[in-house]
């Protein structure tokens, strides 16, 4: 089975490697001894690690307001005073529940495998707030056993230390840092209204350019217009596009999907992936599909909108998360009830609704 994590720093120090194994064995034994049916966390090296921030996992809007208006000390005190009150679910909550559902199915089919989703809470919140976070995790019975609460420091170093495959946050600075470090990351946005989502299948939608693929083609559109773009794409149909920040995450999903296919569960697979692109199938779609094929990746449904708005289509798809690099599409999606995640990557960040943003106004 090929690696879910492309670069795993395997410990070269023999003592360290033995130490790691012993810690792992102790954790395994400890979890198995707990008098609950709680599944134990997977071995990080083989898992698809998803890092979520506290504000995406739980709704902390009111608390955030206290932090911004009254300062850190009052904020921490408030959280402590309300420690036993579970927080309300946040924007990444449905996604996390869907990941847990997939894990359940994987465990049934492969009881000894460590190739599962590993959900880690990565927050720069203070440890004292941690008690409320842990109580909330207990309240919803989430399988989140790993966390880093860095007390104000940037969590980026920890993302790498945890071999994170995807990081979700509300903080654009942290997400940008993560992407620059080569970690798939996105800024989550709450939809305007709630849409009922599948409880048996994880549904993930991706934009194409500057998300799964690099922004090379998008640069052409922005700088030379659509006609040049179509010509260019046709000419280069057989040249795979370079990869984008979320390609590895799609790859990880694909590897887990294959595990279901191997057990004859293709029709009942609890993971479904969607490509939702503004490209049109006829003029620029082939290159996209050929690129995916060259990478050995499958996507379940590829939807070419030829410039039509994405909102209505996403409303029908009802993904647990939709990744796009352009705020214009993110706004459109969330206005119509889709949980959206902005990937701040590529040339699209310098434009708003097709117009170049003045340098001073560009999102930092």
């Amino acid at each position: 089975m090929s690696e879910i994590k492309p670069t795993v720093a395997i410990s070269t120090d023999k003592n360290e490697a033995t130490a790691e194994e012993k810690d792992w064995a102790a954790a395994k034994a400890h979890f198995e001894s707990l008098k609950s049916t709680k599944p134990r966390p997977p071995k990080p090296r083989y898992a698809v690690t998803i890092g979520v921030s506290s504000r995406t996992l739980f709704d902390m809007v009111a608390e955030r307001k206290i932090f911004e208006e009254e300062g850190l000390e009052k904020y921490v005190q408030h959280q402590q005073d309300h420690e036993s009150e579970p927080l309300k679910p946040g924007v990444a909550f449905p996604f996390v529940k869907a990941l847990m559902t997939v894990n359940e199915r994987l465990r049934k089919l492969y009881p000894d495998s460590e190739e599962l989703f590993d959900i880690v809470l990565m927050t720069n919140n203070h440890a004292q707030v941690g008690v409320r976070l842990i109580n909330s995790i207990n309240h919803y019975d989430l399988t989140i056993e790993r966390f880093c609460m860095t007390g104000g420091q940037s969590p980026i170093g920890y993302l790498k230390a945890y071999m994170t495959n995807l990081y979700l946050s509300k903080d654009s600075k942290k997400v940008q840092e993560a992407i620059e470090e080569g970690i798939a990351a996105a800024i989550m946005f709450k939809p305007e209204m709630e849409t009922p989502l599948s409880e048996t299948q994880l549904r993930v939608a991706f934009d194409g350019d500057a998300v799964l693929f690099s922004d090379e083609s998008e640069i052409i559109v922005k700088q030379h217009g659509l006609d040049t773009f179509f010509e260019h794409e046709k000419l280069n149909e057989n040249t795979p596009l370079a990869k984008g920040p979320l390609k590895c995450f799609l790859e990880a999903l694909g590897k887990l999907q294959k595990k279901f296919y191997a057990k004859n569960e293709r029709l009942n697979c609890p993971i479904r992936t969607f490509l939702v692109t503004a490209r049109s199938a006829a003029s620029s779609g082939a290159r996209v599909l050929k690129t995916l094929r060259s990478w050995g990746l499958e996507i379940d449904e590829a939807l070419f909108l030829a410039g039509a708005p994405k909102g209505p289509l996403l409303q029908k798809i009802r993904p647990h998360i939709f990744f796009d690099d352009q705020m214009f599409h993110i706004e459109g999606a969330k206005d119509m009830g889709t949980i959206s995640a902005h990937v701040p990557y590529g040339i699209g960040q310098k434009y708003n609704k097709g117009k170049l943003i003045e340098p001073e106004k560009q999102q930092k």
């Binding site: 810690d23 400890h30 979890f31 440890a127």
Partner: protein, 278 residues
Amino acid sequence: MAVSHLFLQNCTGPLMIALQYNDLFDLSISTSTNTDALPKGRAFTFIKAVQTVNERLVDQNKTESLLFEVILIAKECSEEIKMKIVESVKHYGLEIGKFYFCKKEELINTLQSNKVKLFISTDRDDVYKALHTGIPAALLYDQVDHHVLNQLKVIFSGEVIGFSEDSLDSLSDFGFGETQIETFKAAKICIKEFAVLIGQMRRRFGHENSPLCTCVLTTWGSRNICATAIKTLREWGLDVDEVYCLAGAPCSPILAVVKPHILWDSGLHNMRDSSAPS
């Protein structure tokens, strides 16, 4: 365990930490002339951080008595080395309270008679020996580079604090040998006083810009053990700043980012079972 006398609101007197000279200075590099100071060792950033804390404490209160005091222990030294040590300390401007030159077997006695609040060492065997005789001891984490942060970082073990007394015997189910369980129990007893003192010191500063940073690290325990550790420390008067719960994930990459100085740990690899065949 009657420790109510520790809950004095105003603990006076220094917080004494004992360090061995071979951690403070690097003896593997030979010095060419007799006048060169000994090269900096693994405890260098620790001692600089301790001094920063003391400076900040005194800044806030000139008559502050709860300050760190570092004593340096040197086992089996020639007269020449003794001189070198004292000179090197002066050379680097290190604040060492006392020097103890003793024989190897006198280490524990020296620690006990000085009522040290913490003995730190990179030598795990020394740490375990000290713990077994009731001396609070923790690992001096090997800071890879000598970049000095203006902050002393202390990690408390989530398992040692969060694991309840009555569950201690179940530790053998998790792969702990008898000696390791004894070390764990000893650590559990010793850690409290140190935590209370650090808590008092920590309260002299606010959440931000503190020269003292405290963390809880749970290497294999569940999140509830971690939560118990945070709450227990809170009861003891220490509001920790950072918390890491690994649930069996490799801890070296995480520690490399946290960069602690003092590490109270319960990882099995840190508690070698001397009774088990190697």
